[in-house]
Amino acid sequence: MAKYVIKRVLMGIFSMFIVATLTFFIMNLVPGGPFVAEKSISVAAQQALEEKYGLDKPLGVQYLNYMDGLLHGDMGLSLKQRGRTVNQIIADKLPISCQVAGIAVAVALCVGIPLGCLSAYHRGKWADNVIIVFATCGIAIPSFISSVLLLYTFGMNLKLLPTTGLNEPAAYIMPVTALAIYPTAYITRLMRSSLLDVMGQDYMRTARAKGVSSVKILFKHALRNAILPVVTYVGPMLAMLMTGSFVVEKIFTIPGLGRDFVSAINTRDYTMIMGTTILLASLVIIANVIVDILYKVIDPRIKLK
């Protein structure tokens, strides 16, 4: 196990290196630059800025400088958010996004798994049909629609919930709901199909033939086998949500990291693009390692190589 983890960490570092390199060069291929604005600044000022941030050097040198910094854990100064380092921005905003994402994933699991089970157990009956309709809607409706609908209903019309920020516990309800709808619906569907598959397995019949009660059959024999696809999905999904959702953060004015992802690209904030991309990549890699280890814990047939 320890050997496996070390191996995966080394592989992860290698993947990170590739991600960083590719992003760096592709980003520089895109026309434009951080200091090319509509209202052009004087040539002298632009040169001074480029000199300050090292953008006047050849691309190869810039790359080496950046990678040198990255090795020391320094992702450089943001080109657009003056005077702040990328490290600082991530440290400030990541926890906020993480918090919202963590709650959303917890909600998605707590709602999605039981709904999926319920649906599978009542296959073909009305409860199943209702759940499937809601799950399909949950997957089909984009978050900007559900966010706006929530905001309009509970924020404006009913005036039940605060519409902006995260200053009180109630303020979490709407953004968390908006974020959780898709994963909840997805988990419900995954859980349903996976449980239906497991319920048709021979060992379920064995369990019944042994005289095991249906509740225990569900919790002991079925769930552990059926949960694997959900685990596979939740790992990377958590990583994606943790780095923030642009739409939800924008609509509910949450100072999370999601907005920086998009704005960094629009403004050619090179160091910020690198920072957010590397962060997302590393989270996805870590999540996958954890998922693989969880797999092994849940299903002894899986060999970690």
Binding site: Q201, R205, T206, A209, K210, G211
Partner: protein, 333 residues
């Protein structure tokens, strides 16, 4: 030894599917004494598994008992609730399935799965249950039981897993063991070992066995009595000798004829039973085998034949035999 343990009278069972009522059992009757070994043979869909499963109440939705009485070990099965069934399943009657590769839960150890059934049906403590599990593995001929208990199903071979299934089935010393094609998925040498083991265990423990199979060789070596099923009917019932040496129903004859012969001339072809099995959604009015029967008469197509007793232990449902009996009777008068 001769205590009656199972008595099935005119059992009818149907599966209510969207396409309509599938009549899986159409008046099945037979009885078994303590210690009997009965073989149920027949082709796929003839109702042999359904008969056995219904004793355990495992033919749940959309399967439904629509008639007849079933007594097992003092319980009237046809009136039992799911909760009452749970008490006898794995306890008084247990079952081993066809495919040992998929019949054990892959995510729990062998030990866990054996202990589960012991804890369910006995008052034993966890420690005692594990000791009993070890004992059971020894009983079914698994070496190094301590180590095996901690292993997962995927770490054992097919034959070993079937032994584990037998251990689970025998954990609470059932009165009746149902073996649903227990050797079909195993290779030939392992088949022989498993059959031998089952015979050994029957001698040791004195339980009754219902052996469901379409392998006539297995029945010949294991069973004392044989029920031949076709389209949800028992078409012929008798001792093993009676069925093999004096088959009376045309279907039984066909089955026995289809066995490859050791002393056959070279290049002799196997003899199949022509035609296809009955559609149980729309069973024919008369004898279900009539459409495939070489000696089919007019009456066979319109009326179900009555029971013809050939000896105390041997009976069949066939108009031909009925006719012969009638003619014999006529001459005697």
């Amino acid at each position: 030894m001769s205590e009656k343990i199972l008595d099935i009278q005119q059992e009818r069972l149907s599966f209510f599917t969207p396409a309509g009522e599938v009549k899986a059992l159409n008046g099945v009757s037979f009885a078994m004494n303590q210690g009997d070994v009965l073989g149920i043979v027949g082709e796929s869909g003839s109702g042999k598994s359904v008969t056995a499963y219904s004793i355990m109440g495992l033919t749940a939705y959309p399967g439904k008992l629509v008639g007849g009485k079933v007594w097992f070990n003092g319980h009237q099965i046809d009136e039992m609730s799911e909760k009452e069934f749970r008490k006898i399943r794995g306890n008084e009657v247990s079952i081993i399935f066809q495919d040992p590769m998929t019949s054990l839960n892959p995510v729990y150890t062998i030990g866990n799965q054996i202990v589960e059934v012991i804890l369910l049906h006995t008052q034993k403590t966890k420690k005692e249950a594990w000791a009993r599990a070890k004992e059971l593995l020894e009983l079914v001929g698994i070496n190094e039981p301590e180590r095996r208990l901690k292993q997962y199903p995927h770490e054992l071979s097919g034959g070993m897993r079937q032994r584990v299934m037998i251990a689970i089935a025998l954990a609470c010393e059932p009165k009746l063991l149902i073996a649903d094609e227990p050797t079909t998925a195993l290779d030939v040498t392992i088949q022989a070992q498993i059959l031998e083991l089952m015979q050994d265990l029957r001698k040791k423990l004195g339980m009754s066995i219902i052996m469901i199979t379409h392998d006539l060789g297995v029945v010949a070596s294991m069973c004392e009595k044989i029920a031949v099923m076709y389209a949800g009917h028992i078409v012929e019932y008798g001792t093993t000798d009676e069925i093999f040496y004096n088959p009376q129903h045309e279907y039984t004859k066909g089955l026995i004829n289809s066995i490859p012969k050791l002393n056959a001339e070279e290049k002799e072809r196997l003899v199949p039973i022509e035609g296809t099995p009955v559609d149980l959604l729309n069973p024919p009015a008369g004898c279900p085998f009539a459409p495939r029967c070489k000696s089919c008469m007019k009456v066979c197509l319109s009326k179900m034949p009555p029971r013809t007793e050939l000896s105390d232990t041997h009976y069949t449902y066939c108009w031909l035999r009925q006719k012969e009996e009638f003619e014999k009777g006529g001459k005697a008068e």
